[in-house]
Symmetry: C2
Subunit: 445 residues, 2 copies
């Protein structure tokens, strides 16, 4: 990665949501000014990063002025009121183009808002634009899409990760303080980790997926990417329809079960050490995974069938509109037999029971978010601890188990390896999100 350099950052690089919300309410800044900062940052940085597929400057400024008027009138819609937000381009946003990262939808303009977008707007958020997604969200690398790869703000030669690559790059580059993504096998957490920001995948179904173009319906989650765990919490609660408010207090220091990632995938020693070191001083126990070997087959057994069911007619009618790698993967997915899909659901039940067992012994589970830092754009094999391994499954291997289980999972940045960010992943029981966020805030802080 020869082009490494100190990257530029936009206005929001040093900002958090609470600070922005306070300044908006103090009159120290207006939403229109914040939105102009976001638009400036996109103009200045996105040539290189390709984080955005489209920007709605006019619509955003109009929403911002409306938010300013509402706030001035004392009509406070909550913590995202007046905040510029970016939305992944597989999420429908009324009146805006939504391409799914695909030539199939090059001219598609959404006629209605996805439920998560409706909730953002109801909370007064200002939607600045749509972020680059891996084509149909079908890939963890973020470098195959009709509009080209999104790139890593820490090094534009490095992949952003995906599929919510543009959302992660936009936050990491300080273009926006918050972006919405989706996560089927890690598509929020992977790019957040590779780009050095926080990313949260809620419990399955906690944020409705209506109006999100499906990848694999039983694995798809709507999630958020922001600079800090606290900002993830704020945005998550808006999207989940929960009241804003202080965290439920925990009953004592959280106990953590450390999952040595080698049980799931060959993991770079430095990456593993950084993640493990971030927990030093905490109550950590080693966890033995009872049943991890089959998780790749389980994940693929579920996803292949569900993904091809979404795309069968497009593959038959207009295969040339897919990029070759995605087309090839879909054609392979078509061949997964139905009985393997059924078996995968049976395995999923067993894995859920195993995860429930682990989370009855530990408040949180912890492991690296990815087994290695960002590979180069387009790279498909990488050397890890002296072995060549697959980039694609490698990226998914530590995050997808929590999609299969449907439990909340957060990534927080814990340092850099050879100049590129590394994430620590934390997993909790549904309902223990506040404990997760509070613990992570201590780590990330």
């Amino acid at each position: 990665m020869s082009s490494r350099k100190t990257p530029e950052r936009g206005y929001f690089a040093g900002q958090d949501l609470q600070g922005l919300a306070d300044r908006l309410r103090e009159g120290a800044v207006t939403s229109a000014e914040l939105t102009a900062h976001a638009l400036d940052a996109v103009r200045g940085l996105d040539q290189e990063l390709n984080a955005f597929v489209s920007v709605d400057a006019e619509g955003a400024l109009e929403s911002a002025r409306k938010a300013d008027a509402e706030l001035a009138a004392g009509d406070d819609l909550g913590p995202l009121h007046g905040i510029p937000v970016a939305v992944k381009d597989i999420i429908e946003t009324a009146g805006m183009r939504t391409t799914m990262g695909s030539a199939h939808f090059a001219d598609h303009v959404s006629t209605a808002d996805a439920e998560c977008v409706r909730r953002l707007r109801a909370g007064g958020a200002v939607i600045v634009g749509k972020t680059t997604t891996h084509e149909f969200a079908y890939g963890p690398t973020g470098d195959r899409a009709a509009g080209g790869a999104s790139r890593n703000p820490h090094d534009p030669a490095a992949m952003s990760g995906g599929s919510s690559g543009g959302s992660a790059a936009a936050v990491a580059a300080g273009m926006v303080p918050l972006a919405v993504g989706t996560d089927t096998g890690g598509s929020v957490r992977i790019p957040a980790a590779l780009c050095g920001v926080a990313g949260f995948k809620p419990a399955y179904g906690a944020v409705p997926a209506d109006g999100v173009f499906p990848l694999s319906r039983s694995l798809d989650h709507v999630g958020v990417i922001a600079r800090t765990p606290r900002d993830c919490r704020t945005a998550y609660r808006v999207l989940a329809g929960l009241r804003a408010g202080p965290p439920r207090s925990a009953g004592g220091p959280a106990t953590v079960g450390w999952i040595a990632p080698g049980a799931l995938f060959e993991t770079d020693r430095e990456v593993e050490e950084l993640a493990r070191a971030a927990l030093s001083g905490r109550a950590v126990q080693e966890v033995e995974l009872g049943d991890a070997a089959g998780l790749r087959q389980t994940y693929n057994g579920i996803q292949d069938a569900e993904a091809y069911a979404v795309h069968a007619e497009r593959v038959a009618d207009a295969p040339e509109l897919f990029t070759p790698e995605v087309l090839e993967r879909l054609q392979a997915a078509a061949r997964t037999p139905g009985w393997r899909h059924v078996r995968a659901f049976e395995e999923r039940q067993r894995w859920r029971a195993e995860v429930a067992r682990l989370l009855s012994h530990h408040d949180l589970l912890a492991l690296p978010t990815t087994p290695f830092a960002a590979p180069a754009v387009g790279q498909r094999e990488i050397e890890v601890n002296g072995r060549e391994v697959e980039v694609r499954w490698g990226l998914l291997s530590l995050t997808s188990p929590w999609n299969i289980a449907g439990v909340p999972a957060l990534t927080v940045p814990v340092g850099t390896s050879r100049g590129l960010p590394v994430g620590l992943q934390l997993v909790c029981r549904p309902g223990d999100e506040d404990l997760l966020f509070a613990f992570a805030a201590g780590i990330a802080g």
Copy 2:
């Protein structure tokens, strides 16, 4: 069918459960005597009908004597106490051989009771023996099994129907007053209709399927076969863990939506007329099915994948232990792609909504149970209204929609066509079972 003759009948041919229960409590008969009658009938008739795979004379008589002692001591376990019952041979019964109709399980002795059997025993029922099932319950004809075909008491050259063929034949021949079966696409209702008795498939999950060898888990139901709807109700309530007691009274005469069966399958005109005529004098409206054309693909898309997932290792390791037709069907089922399975579940959701809509307009839906009366054992094509049609899908075509929907469905005998029985099928909302049984009692009466 050259061998047609006036069939012999066993002791229970003219008996109903309430009458038997009354006589047991009056001391007019003992459970030991009833059990001896059942064993006599099996001995006398089963050479011809092959309804039973195994009979547990000793165990049954022991249970009967215990029931007699309990009843004499005033320890009344309810309406099945002391009643001889037969159980389909894919349902585990502790200490008895359970073959699944397959050479794979020729020597399998159950180590525990299925939950439905546990409930029968807890209700004091006397389990007489295990009834012939189509091999692994995988067929509606009842004529492929390791132990040979079960036969129709109305004409032993005619098929019993299946897969619970032995259960239906045993009740129709008066060997027992009650038999338990399973119903994945009609496997209780089809043989009940072809043999001229009543058969009830409860709502999905209303009777636990634990301990029942699976055919297709999301379609499998445990059901009952008896002479009358009232007897079906009595047995159903025991199996479902509901209190015995008088039916919940209806708010007025039930309204019925008549589904012309031609929308689902070419139906013999005489069969259709008999079923329709049984409703004369009732409040009947014609029903238009919105979405019936794809139901066969939906059913097979679900069943193929689920069935092969159960049998994959057996097909790989010991294909020679299957009968050829069942092996061939399983090998075809293995090729159903996963995405078709996913689509089938999507179609299922649409069909469920359609059925819910129909049942919001009508208390009951009615149609024939099968499109034709019993074909000959081994027959796979049949002429209906001058057209050659498939026997297998024909038998399933009118019953399987209610497995896909998971709603209760009952068949009652409504006469004979060319000397063989014809069934009327009635479908209701889960929760409206009493209304269904009461209406059917009026028909069958």
